[in-house]
């Protein structure tokens, strides 16, 4: 096993990934600015990507890395759409605070 995991153990990657994910969650829960909520989601996404890549190396299986490429491509597309929505929300209501976005009532 001649790879990077020999120098830094797999458990460290898992910790980092969990920490990043939790940061993302707290960001989603505590912040009211829609862009920051959005960024937090991206952090969560990347935490998962990191875990994918780490396990892919650990198992000597390229599938995980291929999957990450897909997920990054999808994330990029999602960001493009999401930001466009946010821009048009801002144009309409003059605010991107998620507290003011209450039109979708049941």
């Amino acid at each position: 096993m001649n790879n990077i995991l020999n120098q830094i153990g797999i458990e460290n990657y898992i910790f980092l990934s969990v920490i990043l994910f939790c940061i993302g969650i707290f960001g989603v829960l505590y912040r009211r600015n829609a862009i920051i909520v959005f960024m937090s989601i991206e952090i969560m996404l990347n935490a998962v990507n990191l875990l994918f890549v780490a396990f892919s190396t650990y198992h000597q299986d390229a599938q995980g890395q291929v999957f990450v490429f897909f997920s990054m491509a999808v994330a990029a597309a999602e960001v493009a759409v999401g930001l466009a929505i946010l821009v048009s929300i801002f144009k309409n209501s003059g605010s991107i605070s998620i507290d003011t976005l209450k039109n979708l009532k049941g």
Binding site: I25, V28, L29, R32, V37, D99, L101, K102, K105, G106
Partner: protein, 627 residues
């Protein structure tokens, strides 16, 4: 060759119907009437062709068009059977039909929907021909339903009058009750013999060793119920008098000459079944006799000229059923034919009178029309003499044979039928005296406009009056062309020769004297004393019961309509309320729960995200705990 001619026979009126439906309005009234008349005349011509062809081919023509229904061991063809019976029926249906079409060209000329009228009439003739020429019971049923539909359409032809619509609905519903009986009868026969074809049925019954007579009687009874609906017998006759709401040519064609004889046709066609079920035959005879008497008594006091004729039709149909019930099918057929002549003539004559009086049908407002309308008067007089059974005229021979048959089989039935005949003579001449004799009782304006009807109306009257006079020739006592002609259909005729002894001549004399007494009474009361029936309010006692038709409509209304309404009310107020409260309960519970759930969706994105994360945590912890 014969197949094509048979198709022409059936489809010519249908083509007339299609042309009148799609182009009737654009070609104009007279042309649409001519198309309608011609299409029926073509059928009449082909009927004559088949009548001639039958002399060379006495077994008749069995024409199969296509395989209609073929399921397991039941095979039903769509085919025509042109034998002596069906061709005989065709001749008078299409013959009288042509005359009545011709009459309608003039009679209906002022109506804006004349093309529609002719379309319906053509459709009726088409279905009537289908009914008559069908080679099995299912084809007959198509025609049976079809003529019912046309009858409905034509009774309600003047659809702007609600009473007429009600009459049409009544006719349709009453007929439907009978039709259900017919259908059940057909089902039973199909179940018993696995076939509905007349010829196959006949051989199956002739060859069967042990027929289930119980079910065969049930089938015969159900078929008879079908006949009571279509041919207006007790208990389903009440639609026919109301059906007079339709235009007069319709009453003449459908409700006197053709459609109402369908039941007699069906029973004659299936005579080999009814011969095996004497119980049903006695029911038919008794019902026929009672109908003849009841309808005749009601006819005594009616004041609407068409109503009198309607009850007279019911009464005459009753006599025909009496003959059928006594197994004298050929006598019934004979009376059907002569009745078609004189009753069509009477209806058309009454139409001519109504036409001259601009729609007045109440005989109390007529009178003295003899001088103004000589042709109508003479033709109606001839027909009245025929229906009253005065010698030489056709009705004498046919009615006398019925009475004779009744006398030989059952004296009480003979008495009932004779009384009905005397009443017939009385009310027919009451009609004649009230309409044509003494002074005119209408308004001055009507009097001013009185006129004899145009030639298109009087020509059919004259033809029918001639037929009503000489129609008896087809079956003279002792030397009957009709009986010989019908021998292939009614095989036992050959063995049954009527001997004209002194009893028969005495009976004839009794019948004739009875008829003359009826006429004399009418003369004494309505011509000599010049009595005019009083207003509706002045009628009292038993006459009032008769005038109101024994309150039969009211009784039916009370027994059937009211009870069904009460039952419906119970279901509506009790059952339906509780049932729907129960069902609504589910909806209400669901609704209130979802109203609570709705509060969670308050539109706050933060809350959604929190729930989302909480859910995520729950799933993860569940997965870990599960392991």
């Amino acid at each position: 060759m014969n197949t094509n001619i048979a198709l022409l026979l059936v489809l010519a009126p249908f083509a007339g119907f299609l042309i009148n439906v799609f182009f009737g309005k654009s070609v104009g009234k007279t042309v649409s009437g001519i198309i309608g008349t011609l299409s029926v005349a073509i059928s009449f011509a082909t009927s004559i062709y088949f009548f001639n062809a039958l002399t060379a081919e006495p077994k008749g023509f069995n024409i199969t068009l296509f395989d209609w229904i073929h399921v397991s061991n039941i095979k039903i063809d769509f085919g025509f059977l042109l034998d002596q019976l069906s061709v005989l029926w065709l001749l008078f249906v299409t013959g009288i039909g042509s005359l009545i079409h011709l009459y309608s060209i003039s009679y209906m000329h002022d109506d804006e929907n004349m093309h529609k009228f002719f379309a319906y009439l053509n459709l009726f003739v088409f279905f009537m021909i289908t009914l008559v020429v069908g080679s099995n019971l299912l084809v007959l049923f198509i025609g049976w339903e079809g003529v019912g539909l046309c009858s409905y359409l034509l009774i309600g032809f003047w659809y702007k009058n609600q009473d007429y619509n009600d009459a049409a609905k009544k006719a349709f519903i009453m007929n439907r009750i009978g039709d259900l009986g017919l259908l059940i009868g057909i089902f039973i026969l199909g179940h018993l013999f696995s076939t509905l074809d007349y010829a196959t049925l006949k051989t199956a019954i002739a060859g069967a060793t042990n027929i289930d007579l119980y079910w065969l009687s049930a089938a015969a009874l159900c078929l008879f119920i079908g006949a009571t609906g279509k041919s207006a017998q007790i208990p389903l006759y009440t639609w026919l008098p109301d059906a007079m709401a339709g235009p007069t040519p319709v009453s003449a064609l459908i409700h006197a000459a053709t459609m109402v004889t369908a039941g007699i046709f069906m029973i004659t066609r299936l005579n080999f079944i009814f011969d095996l079920t004497p119980d049903v035959q006695s029911i038919i005879a008794v019902i026929g006799a009672i109908t003849a008497l009841v309808a005749a008594t009601i006819g005594l006091v009616q004041n609407d000229i068409k109503k009198v004729l309607a009850y007279s039709t019911v009464s005459q149909l009753g006599l025909m059923f009496l003959a059928l019930g006594l197994g004298a099918y050929e006598v019934a057929v004979f009376h059907v034919i002569t009745h078609a002549f004189f009753k069509a003539c009477l209806f058309l004559g009454s139409g001519s009178v109504i036409h001259a009086l601009h729609g007045e049908q109440d005989m109390r407002k007529m009178g003295g029309l003899k001088k103004v309308m000589p042709i109508t008067f003479i033709t109606m007089l001839v027909s009245s003499l025929a229906i009253s059974g005065v010698p030489v005229f056709s009705g004498f021979f046919s009615k006398d044979e019925i009475l004779l048959t009744a006398f030989h089989h059952n004296i009480p039935l003979w008495v009932v039928a004779s009384v009905a005949s005397i009443m017939t003579a009385f009310y027919m001449f009451r009609l004649m005296f009230l309409t044509f004799f003494n002074a005119f009782r209408g308004t001055e304006e009507q009097k001013h406009h009185l006129h004899e009807s145009p030639a298109l109306i009087t020509f059919p009257l004259i033809v029918l009056a001639i037929l009503a006079t000489i129609g008896g020739l087809i079956s003279l006592p002792g030397n009957s062309w009709l009986n010989e002609y019908l021998t292939p259909i009614l095989p036992k005729l050959a063995s049954e020769e009527h001997h004209l002894g002194s009893t028969e001549y005495l009976l004839m004399a009794v019948a004739v004297v009875g008829g003359l007494v009826g006429i004399g009474l009418a003369y004494a009361k309505y011509n000599k004393q010049n009595t005019v029936p009083g207003d509706d309010a002045s009628i009292t006692g038993f006459a009032k019961v008769l005038y109101n038709k024994y309150y039969l409509d009211e009784i039916y209304n009370f027994i059937f309509v009211k009870s069904v309404n009460e039952l419906s009310k119970f279901f509506r107020d009790q059952v339906e309320t509780n049932l729907s409260a129960f069902v609504f309960g589910f909806g209400k519970v669901t609704n209130s729960i979802s109203l609570q759930g709705k509060k969670v969706q308050n539109g706050s994105v933060g809350l959604y995200l929190f729930a989302f994360v909480l859910g995520l945590c729950a799933i993860i912890s569940f997965l870990f705990l599960a392991q």
